[in-house]
C-alpha cells in the first residue's frame, strides 16, 4: 500500500478547474517530482497535500489516514517554500526550534535536535544569525532543516531552488537529495526545471492542464515519453512527419527514406500519417553505432554551447536539431554546408496525442 495517495483529486477555483482527476501513489521514502509548465496545477496539487487548498473532490491519504479535510497543522508535513519563508523575528536556532516547541519537546531535546539539524545542513556556526544575515542558499538550508526538525511524515518542496543562482541551485539540489536519502523521508518536489527533476527524482509526474500526462522514472520519461506534450516538454525533440507504408506494420516513409521501426505503428491516422520523434543526441554526423538511416540537408545554424555544439539542419520541409560533443580538434560544419545526419531507426519513436 502506498504511503501517500491522491485519488481522483479535482480542484476548481470559480469556474476554472485547475486539477482534473489527479491520481498518484507515492511509496514510503520515495522522491517524486511534479514537473510541468506554469499553470499546469503542480503547485495546487502540492498545496492540497499540505492542506492549504481543499480538493473540490477526491481523497488524500498519508500513511493510511484520510487527511483530505484535515487542517495543515494536523497533517505532520514539512514544507519548504520558494521564498524561504523563514520567520524574520527568529534567528536560525529559533526557526529550526519552532516546530519542536509546538510539538511540546523539552528544552534539552529541542536543543539536541536543532544541533543535529544544523549539523545536517552544515550551518552549525550560524545558529545565532538572523535570516537577513544569511545568503539565499543558507536561508533555504535553514528552511529545509526547519521543515525536517519535527520529523514530518512527508516533506513537500515547492520550487525551493527557483530563487537561487545556477551554481547554488545545483549544489543544493544534490544536498537535498542526499539528506532525503539519509533520512528516508517521503518527498514531493515541485519544479518547472526538467534538469532538476531528472537529476534528483525516483519518479517524475509530468503535468499538463491539471492532469498527470505521464508518471515514471526519469529514464522512462525521457526515453519513452507517452504523449507529444511529455516528449516536447522534457528535453529537446525533433518531430518528423511520416507515413506508414501500405501493407506493412512497421515500415514508414520519412524524409524520402523508408524506415523500419522497432515497434509496429499504433498511432497512424486514417490516411496513414503519424509523427516520429527523435532526440538530438541520437543523431550524429557519423554513421557509426548502428545508425542505419541518413538524412541529407543544409546546415541552418551552428550554436556553440560550451560542452556541446548544437546544429540545426533543414531536411526537406523539416528541421533537425542535434548536438556534437565539443573538443579542441573538432571542426563543426558551417552554416550553408551540405551535411548528412545519421540516426538508428530503433531510436525513432511514435508520438501519440
Amino acid at each position: 500500500m502506498s504511503f501517500l495517495s491522491i485519488t481522483n483529486a479535482v480542484k476548481t477555483f470559480g469556474t476554472n478547474t485547475v486539477v482534473k482527476g489527479f491520481d498518484l501513489a507515492v511509496q514510503k521514502g520515495e522522491f517524486v517530482s511534479f514537473l510541468g509548465p506554469s499553470g499546469c496545477g503542480k503547485t495546487t496539487v502540492l498545496r492540497m497535500i499540505a492542506g492549504f487548498e481543499r480538493p473540490t473532490s477526491g481523497m488524500i491519504t498519508i500513511d493510511g489516514r484520510d487527511v483530505t479535510d484535515a487542517a495543515p497543522n494536523k497533517r505532520r508535513i514539512g514544507m519548504v517554500f520558494q521564498a524561504y519563508a523563514l520567520f524574520p523575528n527568529m534567528n536560525v536556532f529559533g526557526n529550526i526550534a519552532f516546530g519542536l516547541k509546538i510539538a511540546g519537546l523539552g528544552k534539552a531535546e529541542t536543543e539536541a535536535r536543532v544541533k543535529e539539524m544544523l549539523g545536517l545542513i552544515g550551518l552549525s556556526h550560524l545558529a545565532e544569525r538572523f535570516p537577513y544575515e544569511l545568503s539565499g542558499g543558507q536561508q533555504q538550508r535553514v528552511a529545509l532543516a526547519r521543515a525536517l526538525a519535527p520529523k514530518p511524515q512527508v516533506l513537500l518542496l515547492d520550487e525551493p531552488l527557483s530563487a537561487l543562482d545556477a551554481k547554488i541551485r545545483v549544489s543544493l539540489r544534490e544536498e537535498i537529495r542526499e539528506i532525503q536519502r539519509q533520512l528516508g523521508i517521503t518527498t514531493v518536489f515541485v519544479t518547472h526545471d526538467q534538469e532538476e527533476a531528472m537529476s534528483i527524482s525516483d519518479r517524475i509526474v509530468v503535468m499538463n492542464g491539471g492532469r498527470a500526462d505521464q508518471i515514471g522514472t526519469p529514464s522512462d520519461i525521457y526515453n519513452r515519453p507517452r504523449t507529444r506534450f511529455v516528449a516536447g516538454f522534457v528535453g529537446t525533440l525533433n518531430v518528423l512527419k511520416a507515413r506508414v507504408l501500405p501493407q506493412t506494420a512497421r515500415s514508414v516513409a520519412v524524409g524520402g527514406k523508408t524506415v523500419e521501426l522497432a515497434q509496429p505503428v499504433t498511432t497512424a491516422d486514417a490516411s496513414g500519417l503519424l509523427s516520429l520523434a527523435l532526440r538530438p543526441e541520437s543523431l550524429s554526423l557519423t554513421a557509426s553505432d548502428g545508425r542505419d538511416v541518413a538524412f541529407e540537408g543544409k546546415v541552418k545554424s551552428v550554436n556553440f554551447m560550451g560542452s556541446v555544439i548544437r546544429i540545426r539542419m533543414d531536411v526537406g520541409d523539416e528541421t533537425l536539431s542535434f548536438d556534437m560533443f565539443n573538443s579542441p580538434d573538432l571542426v563543426p560544419p558551417s552554416v550553408g554546408d551540405l551535411a548528412t545526419a545519421h540516426v538508428a531507426s530503433r531510436d525513432m519513436f511514435e508520438l501519440s496525442a
Binding site: P72, P88, N89, P150
Partner: protein
Amino acid sequence: MKTRFPLAAVLTALFAASFFIVPLIATFYFSLKMTRGELGFAAYASVFNSAAFLNTILYSTVASLIAILIGAIIIVPTAYWVRLKVPKLRPVVEFVSLLPLIVPPVVLVFGYIRLFGSNSWLPLTASTFGTDILLVVGYVVLSMPYMFRAVDNGMAAIDITTLTEAAESLGASRLRTITAVIFPNVRAAIISGAFLTFSISLGEFVLASLLNRPAFGPYLVQLGQDRAYEPAALAIMSFGFTWGCMVLMQLFATRKPGQRWLPRLFTRPAQRS
C-alpha cells in the same frame, strides 16, 4: 566630473523651512520671557507646577494608551485576516479605515451624543465612566486611518501568507501563528501606529471638549485664553513630544531583529588586542 552646488534648491528649501522654523523659534523665545528682563524656564516650571496640567496629561495619556490597545486589538487581526483570506476586500476596508478623515470629529461626537445620550437605549453619557468609554472609542476611530495604514504597510513588508503557511505546516495553530510569528514581525508597524495614535489623541480637543472630559486638549485651549507665556511653553513641549514620538517610530521601524539599540561602543568596552 565636478558636481555644482545646488544653490537654488538649497535656497528654496531654506525659504520653505523658514515658514516652519521661524514661528517655532519665535514661540520658544517668547516662552523664555516670562520673567521680566531675563530669559528663563519660568513658564515651563509654572506648567509643571500646575495640578491641572498633571491631571489632564495623565487623563489623556491613560485614554490614549487604552485607545492604542483597543485599536491594535481590532486592527491587527482585521488587517491580517483581510490580507490572508479576503484580499479582494482590501480596498473596501482601506476606504472604511479612511472615513474618519472625511467625517469631521464634531459630526462624530454629536452622533455619539445622539446615539448614546441619556435618553438613548445605551445611555453612556449618563455616567462619567460611560463618557470616558465614548471618548476612548472616539480616539480609536480618529486614529484608525493611521493605525490601519501603519499595520497594513507592516504586513505588506512581510509575506504574511507564506509565513502563516510555514507556521501551520510546522504544526502551529492560527492563534499561535498570530502571536508567535505575525505579531512580532509587525510589531514595529504597530508601534508606529501607536505613536501616531498617541500624538493625535493626546492633544485632541473636539471630542474631549464636547464630551466634557478633563483631557489635555481642552486644558491647552483654556490655558491659551487665560495665560500668555505658559501656552507657548506647552506648544514647544508638545512639539518636542511629537518629534520624540517620530524619532522613536523611526528607531522601531528601522531596527532589525537581534540588532542592538545602541552601537556596541556604548554597550561594551572595545577590546584591545
